[in-house]
Symmetry: C2
Subunit: 280 residues, 2 copies
Amino acid sequence: MKIVIVGLGAIGSSFAQALTQAGYQEIRGIDQNPETCLKAEELGIVKTAQTEDDQALSQADLIFITLHPQAVAPYVESKQDLFKSTCLLTDVTGIKRDVMDQVEAILRPDLDFIYAHPMRGSEKAGIAGLNSAQFRGANALLVVSQRNQESHLELIEALYRAMGFQEVSRVDAESHDRAIAYVSQLMHVLAVAAVNSAPNCEDTVQFAGNSFQELTRIADVNAPLWTDLFLHNQDYLLESIEAFEKELVRVKTALKNKDSDQLQDAFQASTQQRREWYVD
Amino acid sequence: MKIVIVGLGAIGSSFAQALTQAGYQEIRGIDQNPETCLKAEELGIVKTAQTEDDQALSQADLIFITLHPQAVAPYVESKQDLFKSTCLLTDVTGIKRDVMDQVEAILRPDLDFIYAHPMRGSEKAGIAGLNSAQFRGANALLVVSQRNQESHLELIEALYRAMGFQEVSRVDAESHDRAIAYVSQLMHVLAVAAVNSAPNCEDTVQFAGNSFQELTRIADVNAPLWTDLFLHNQDYLLESIEAFEKELVRVKTALKNKDSDQLQDAFQASTQQRREWYVD
């Protein structure tokens, strides 16, 4: 199977490495940065990598488009005349409604595009985030479109498992974006706002325990990517922020009123819910 | 050295274990729960444990009062007539101004009390949270009072190191409580409110990655303890929540206005600050 990976960033390069480790040999990379291409070739995670490679695109059986959300549809539109009609396309974007709408609006009728979301990422941008080990035991989501062929969905699922993913679930775009707004995007909002609200005092971190380090880890973000992800999920993310604000005000009001019953209620509710979700 | 540990909860029992492992043999425990006492004796982390033990208190060279903040001063007041004048007292509470004020107001003039804060805790309450290994490499703070003798501070510092703590720093009560409001208490507020704002949907967690699991871990709290900690640090914690709210509104407004420059500014600020604090 001839595979092309478009975009050798943290996810694209890690996919190249994971697929190489899984035994795939015909992997060609495309990245706009010539240094990234050189690095990928040196590391042996692709057979070749170039800034443009229309020949590889025209021969590809499978193309991973590992670009930021807003770049996916424009790339497909600009290159799809080259693709074989049996060529399968897939992405890795963290939001789905907008990407699907944009791609479906322009996609050649004979092509199939499987919308996928690998649920693991690095705060490191670019090929510096190369780390195929991060996929071991991770989850992935496939957001199914009406035109998707079952065999294509099965193929992408099998490739994810070959790269080390554990659970590969199917979901619709609405449910995906609504859930992601909460479990991923809101958590990033909280970490970012928490770090940005730090007192202006050099030795703050001297007082910090492990929970502070954990909770603020995702405040180190790839700013352009996350701006893009947030703007493509504005409605659901605003809903999530507002639901959070209500609970924050509940705690704050209890504290203001020195209402220990209300505080204990909030703590007991969160404790019970967290234990339903996880056994750490 | 004859040591008494009052309160064999998650910290008290772990201290008993850590001190036993460090070679101390004359450790007696006191806990209001007879089953806890039995358990502590069975585990061999104390020589004896009883619900009351005035004899041990009267012979003690060092008493660890590992009780909740509001219980510390009343306990000292009720028992200090028994203590030898050379007996050294110390606590483990997570807030300091109120505890110090309360204890200093009633403490026998010939006694010394070292206010300490081991910066590691379990979400498990009681002796179920027994785990001396958690102290390895952890930080501890000593909040110095005017009457503290240098040799007593040195002794407590040495005992913390013997239990596995790495950094033992000294700090004043105001700075301690202000910093703790941010690095610890605010993080708990955020985790609690985040979990309590979860969409009412069973499969939410199916969409979650590692960051969600990490960030919500501390939403599993010992409700009475944290209520007590919050109420004793109300002023600084409210300040911290309000500073956080401003940053949250900044992100929310940028999102509402689809202002990608503002979003990127917030992300870049948090990324830079986080990297100044930690190299993960």
